[in-house]
């Protein structure tokens, strides 16, 4: 068969996505749901970090990932991609940002383009799970710091220095005896 594999025609989304979409009951029906999600995706592209309810953040994340992946794969000279960008970004100055800033920023990335952090539960609260959805490589201060690991170069060097110190001390002890 000389047919292209269909799953390779669409860029793969790099985050886990539910098998079934969330319905988000809306007085305007499915169209209202999409309007709501478009608003969230636009906000994310504009501000690069937004705090949302978990359900909405997780749902919007997949659409944002897909949009960025398409922009990276096809560029701005591909009609379906441009239509997609026009649909999902309600503020049109962000269409430029998608192709000229984000697609360039994530060109060589091997992981997802967005990150979802769990926001703290404030007591007493409504206990709706809140999340912080952000684009990677944003200019804001990082939310999570990398935990120190013994594989880090300065930790390896410190460990070696410590061992050296112990050896030196032992030798001195032997001499004095």
């Amino acid at each position: 068969m000389n047919q292209a594999e269909i799953r390779k025609l669409i860029p793969a989304v790099r985050v886990a996505i539910n098998a079934k979409h969330r319905k988000f009951s809306n007085p305007k029906g499915p169209e209202g749901r999409l309007t709501m999600l478009r608003k969230t995706v636009t906000e994310l592209v504009k501000l690069e970090r937004v705090e949302l309810n978990y359900q909405r953040g997780d749902e919007a994340r997949g659409y944002a990932e897909r949009l960025i992946a398409m922009a990276i794969k096809h560029g701005d000279r591909h009609i379906p991609t441009m239509e997609m960008a026009n649909y999902w970004l309600t503020e049109k100055q962000l269409v430029h940002k998608l192709f000229k800033v984000l697609a360039v920023r994530y060109k060589d990335h091997t992981e997802s383009y967005t990150k979802l952090h769990k926001a703290p539960n404030i007591y007493p609260g409504f206990y709706r799970e809140r999340v912080v959805l952000e684009l990677k490589g944003n200019p804001f201060p990082p939310l999570e710091k990398k935990n120190s690991s013994h594989n880090w170069i300065h930790n390896i060097l410190l460990e070696e220095a410590h061992q050296d110190y112990i050896r030196k001390k032992l030798k001195e002890g032997e001499r004095s005896n």
């Binding site: 504009k46 501000l47 690069e48 970090r49 705090e51 100055q93 962000l94 269409v95 430029h96 940002k97 000229k100 800033v101 920023r105 952090h117 769990k118 926001a119 703290p120 539960n121 404030i122 912080v132 200019p139 804001f140 201060p141 939310l143 999570e144 710091k145 935990n147």
Partner: protein, 203 residues
């Protein structure tokens, strides 16, 4: 002959009245449909008690059944114990121990979640930065990466770090915990050697 005719007429009239009632109910619905209402009316029925009671009880015993119902009253003590448990036995009120201490600020936070104190600080500065960024970008096409410059900072354009980037000025001072660039020694200085470059003159 006459009696039969009158009876027939009566039955016809009753049917007609029923139809009119149904029509009225469909047009202006209020309460149950008239036929149902008629059915719900208490109809005095006379049973021969002696005749039925014996056979009914026997039927229940042999093939009838009763739904599962509480057999005896649940005492107040027992009820409250079931509801809230005993302090020294099951359903104890235990303190929430699944908490971690933040490595940076020392406040407690739930595992897998951001620290409320750190996140609060971060949120404040992030919102200020977002506001500055959005005002800088305005409604023009966003074509460059945005880089923050905090209050009192001076930008060195010599090393080409800001090439192809747009600067937005944040009206607050840079927090100490948010270092500028960890890999490079420093780009931002407070000395008077470097020239201050306004965002309009860049790129």
């Amino acid at each position: 002959m006459m009696a039969r005719l009158v009876e027939h007429l009566c039955s016809e009239l009753r049917l007609l009245a029923g139809a009119v009632d149904t029509l009225a109910w469909t047009l202006w619905p209020k309460g149950p449909p008239p036929m149902m209402a008629a059915a719900a009316l208490p109809v005095p029925v006379q049973y021969n008690v002696e005749q039925i009671s014996g056979s009914l009880l026997e039927d229940l015993k042999e093939e009838g059944f009763l739904w599962a119902v509480p057999k005896s009253r649940r005492s107040r003590e027992r009820r409250l114990t079931r509801k809230f448990g005993l302090e020294n036995k099951h359903k104890k009120m235990l303190p929430y121990r699944k908490l971690l201490t933040c490595d940076d600020c020392g406040h407690v936070h739930e595992p897998g979640r951001l620290c409320p104190n750190c996140y609060g600080e971060n949120k404040k500065i992030t919102q200020a930065m977002q506001e500055a960024m959005v005002t800088m970008q305005g409604l023009n096409p966003v074509e460059y990466e945005a880089v923050p410059v905090f209050k009192g900072e001076k930008v060195n354009t010599g090393d080409g770090f800001h090439e192809g980037k747009r600067i937005f000025e944040v009206p607050t001072e840079r927090p100490k915990w948010f270092s500028n660039r960890l890999t490079v020694k420093s780009n931002v200085t407070t000395s008077s050697d470097t020239t201050v470059v306004k965002p309009t003159n860049l790129a």
